[in-house]
Subunit: 358 residues, 2 copies
C-alpha cells in the first residue's frame, strides 16, 4: 500500500483525480432503468399499521437508476479501488526505490478484491500474491489463478497472518480491501460517473460492508446536494454500520452468515470517519434476508441482470424499508426523487443462484 503520508486528502477533488488516473483501465458501466420497478417502488406498501396509527403506508415517488457495476471488470466495483491503489503505488518514490515494481503486491480476500488486485497487478506487470480462504468458491479461485497471481489458500481465520508472512518473505506491499484512502478514492469514482449519467440525481443508495464503496461514493457527492445512504443486511448483526451510526460508536466485531456474503465485514476506520464523523452519509438502513432475496429476484426477472445478493440490498431498502420510504416522501414530495442504486457486483455462480431461488 502507498504510504499514508503520500495519499491525497479525502475530498471530492481527490476522487476526481483518482477517476482520471483509472478511467482508461475500467469500464464506464451503463445505467439502466425499469418502468416496472419505478411503478412498484412508487406504490404504497400493503402493510398493517397499528390501530392507533395516524397514517397509512408512505407514498414516495421514485425514478430509479441502476448503476451496473456487476458489468465492471472482474464483475464488481472492486476493480476501481484496486486499479487506483496500484497506480498510486507505481507513482510512490519509496515503493520504486525499495524495488517494489519487482517485489509486487499482496492482498487477502475471499472474493472480489482478490480478483481485482490480481487483474490490476497483471496489467502493470507487478507480481501479485493473493491469500484466499480454502472455503472460497472454486470459480473465484480459478479466476484469480487465471490472472496469473500466486495463490495461497489458508484457513478461514489465518488470512492476515499468512499475508504477513508473505510480506516478510517477499517485500510485497499490502493492498487492503477497503480501509485505505487510495482504495476509497478509487471506489468513489462510481459516484462521479453516476453524477454525469443520471439527470437530476437526488440520492444514491449504496451497499455497505467495510465501507469503502459507501464512503468513496459519499466523498464523490460532497457539496453536490446529493444524499448518500448505506444499505446492509441485518441478519446476525451484519448491520454493524447502522448500529454504530445510531449509537455513535464504531462496532469492531461482526460474525454473520447473511446470504449477502459480500456484506458481512465490519466498517473500517477510514470509512467510519467519512460516513459518521464527517456526516457525509445521511442514514444507514438494514434489511432482512427475505427482503434481500426478493429484491434480488426482481433484479434478475425485471432488469435481466445477474447480481450477487449484496448488490440487491439497496433495492430492498427502496422497496421495503418504511422508514426510508417515509423519509423520501417527506423530502421529495409529489415530485419524487431520482435515486441511484449501485448494483455492486455479479459474482455468484450458477449453483448458488439455483440454491437461492429454489
Amino acid at each position: 500500500m502507498a504510504d499514508l503520508s503520500t495519499c491525497a486528502p479525502l475530498t471530492r477533488q481527490s476522487v476526481i483525480e483518482a477517476h482520471e488516473l483509472i478511467k482508461s483501465k475500467i469500464h464506464l458501466t451503463p445505467v439502466l432503468a425499469s418502468t416496472y420497478l419505478n411503478q412498484l417502488a412508487s406504490t404504497p406498501r400493503e402493510i398493517s399499521t397499528g390501530s392507533d396509527s395516524n397514517r397509512g403506508p408512505a407514498k414516495p415517488v421514485f425514478r430509479l437508476w441502476f448503476k451496473c457495476e456487476n458489468l465492471q471488470r472482474i464483475g464488481a466495483f472492486k476493480a476501481r479501488g484496486a486499479f487506483h491503489a496500484v497506480e498510486k503505488l507505481k507513482k510512490d518514490p519509496t515503493f520504486i526505490e525499495q524495488g517494489g515494481l519487482s517485489k509486487g503486491v499482496v492482498c487477502f480476500s475471499a472474493g472480489n478484491h482478490a480478483q481485482a488486485v490480481a487483474l490490476a497487478a497483471r496489467e502493470s506487470n507487478l507480481p501479485a500474491y493473493i491469500v484466499m480462504p480454502e472455503t472460497s468458491s472454486p470459480t473465484k479461485i480459478k479466476s484469480v489463478e487465471g490472472y496469473g497471481a500466486a495463490l495461497t489458500l489458508c484457513g478461514r481465520f489465518q488470512r492476515e497472518a499468512v499475508a504477513a508472512r508473505i510480506i516478510e518473505k517477499t517485500g510485497a506491499r499490502l493492498i487492503p480491501p477497503y480501509d485505505h484512502p487510495d482504495v476509497i478514492l478509487g471506489q468513489g469514482s462510481v459516484g462521479l460517473e453516476m453524477q454525469s449519467q443520471i439527470p437530476k440525481l437526488g440520492a444514491i443508495v449504496v451497499p455497505s460492508s467495510g465501507g469503502g464503496l459507501l464512503s468513496g461514493t459519499a466523498l464523490s457527492c460532497e457539496g453536490t446536494g446529493i444524499h448518500v445512504y448505506g444499505a446492509e443486511p441485518e441478519f446476525e448483526g451484519a448491520d454493524d454500520g447502522r448500529r454504530g451510526f445510531l449509537s455513535g460508536q464504531r462496532i469492531t466485531h461482526v460474525a454473520s452468515n447473511s446470504i449477502a456474503d459480500g456484506l458481512i465485514g465490519k466498517l473500517g476506520e477510514y470509512p467510519w470517519g467519512i460516513i459518521y464523523e464527517r456526516k457525509l452519509v445521511s442514514m444507514m438502513y438494514a434489511m432482512s434476508e427475505e427482503e434481500i432475496l426478493a429484491a434480488m429476484k426482481l433484479i434478475f426477472e425485471r432488469l435481466k441482470l445477474v447480481v450477487e445478493p449484496a448488490a440487491a440490498v439497496p433495492l430492498a431498502v427502496v422497496l421495503y424499508n418504511e422508514e426510508f420510504r417515509e423519509m423520501v416522501e417527506s423530502t421529495a414530495g409529489e415530485e419524487g426523487w431520482d435515486v441511484g442504486i449501485i448494483l455492486s457486483g455479479g459474482n455468484v455462480g450458477a449453483e448458488r443462484i439455483s440454491e437461492l431461488f429454489a
Copy 2:
C-alpha cells in the same frame, strides 16, 4: 396485420426504413464483450478425434460481441417486430377506413410476442386482444395484463381457433408472431444496430424458431459481406430449420420439449424464402440440451446477464459446434473473426432458473 399488398419489399433498404419508424420506441440495446469468453472460444476443444483423423480440433480465433436484446423493452427482440407491425397498420388506409384504430389488434402467443403486442398496442392507444395458452408462465400472463390488454386463456392447441373467433367478433387485426413481412423487417433492425455498434463485424449467429429474427437479420446484412448463421436446439426434432436447410424442403411439423422453449416452433414461409431460397443465411446449426445449458451458465456467470435458454444457443454453436468452428478457422484464419451473437431475450423466472441450474 397490414395487407400484404401494402408491405415493403423484403430488402435491406426496407429494414432501414423499419428501423427509422420504430427507433424512438425501442431501446438501442448495448453490446457487451468478455475477454474470458473470447479466450475460451479461441481455445481448441478437447475432443477425441478418430485414430485415422488427419487433424485435431479446429483452431478458430474469435472476438465475440453480445447484442443484449434481453435488455430490450419487454425483455426480448420481439418488441421490434410488434412496434413495426403496429406502426405500419396505423399508416394503412384500409385499416383506418375499417375503423381499425378502435377495433384494435389481436395475437396468440405463449411468450414474448404476447407482451410485445400488448405494449406496442398500448402505446398507440389501440385495443389489444391477447390469446395465451393456460400453461403460460404466471409472470408472462401478469405482464400482459399489466399492459392493459384483454387476455383470453385457452387450451394449448386452441390458440388459432380462439384468435379467429375474437377477430370475427371484434374486427381486430391479427399480428402474427413471425410469418409476415412487417414483423420480419422490424426484427431486422437489430442487425442494423449491430453493424453500427461492432467494428469489422464478420458474422452474426442468430437463434431461430419461426425465423423472424433470423430472416430479418439476414436481410439487414444483404450486400454487406456479413455472414449470417442460424442456431437451433436439436432435441426432439426442434432443428427443423437445419433439416429443411440441408434437404431443401421446409419442414412443417415440429413437436419438441427442448429447454430452449422459445425455439420449438417451425420455420415460417416468409423466413424460409429469405433464409433458404434467397440463400441469405449461410448455414444452420443445431445444439444439444447440455450444450445450450452450458452456454447459458457461461452467460450468467461471465456476462452477468439473465437470458432465457433460447438466447444461449448461438454461444453454444460458437463454443461447441466443431463444424462451425472449422468453418470459422478456414474462413477467417489466424486473423480471426468479429462475430456478433444475439442474446434474443431474458424472460425466464427465478424458479425456472433455479431448476435449470440445479
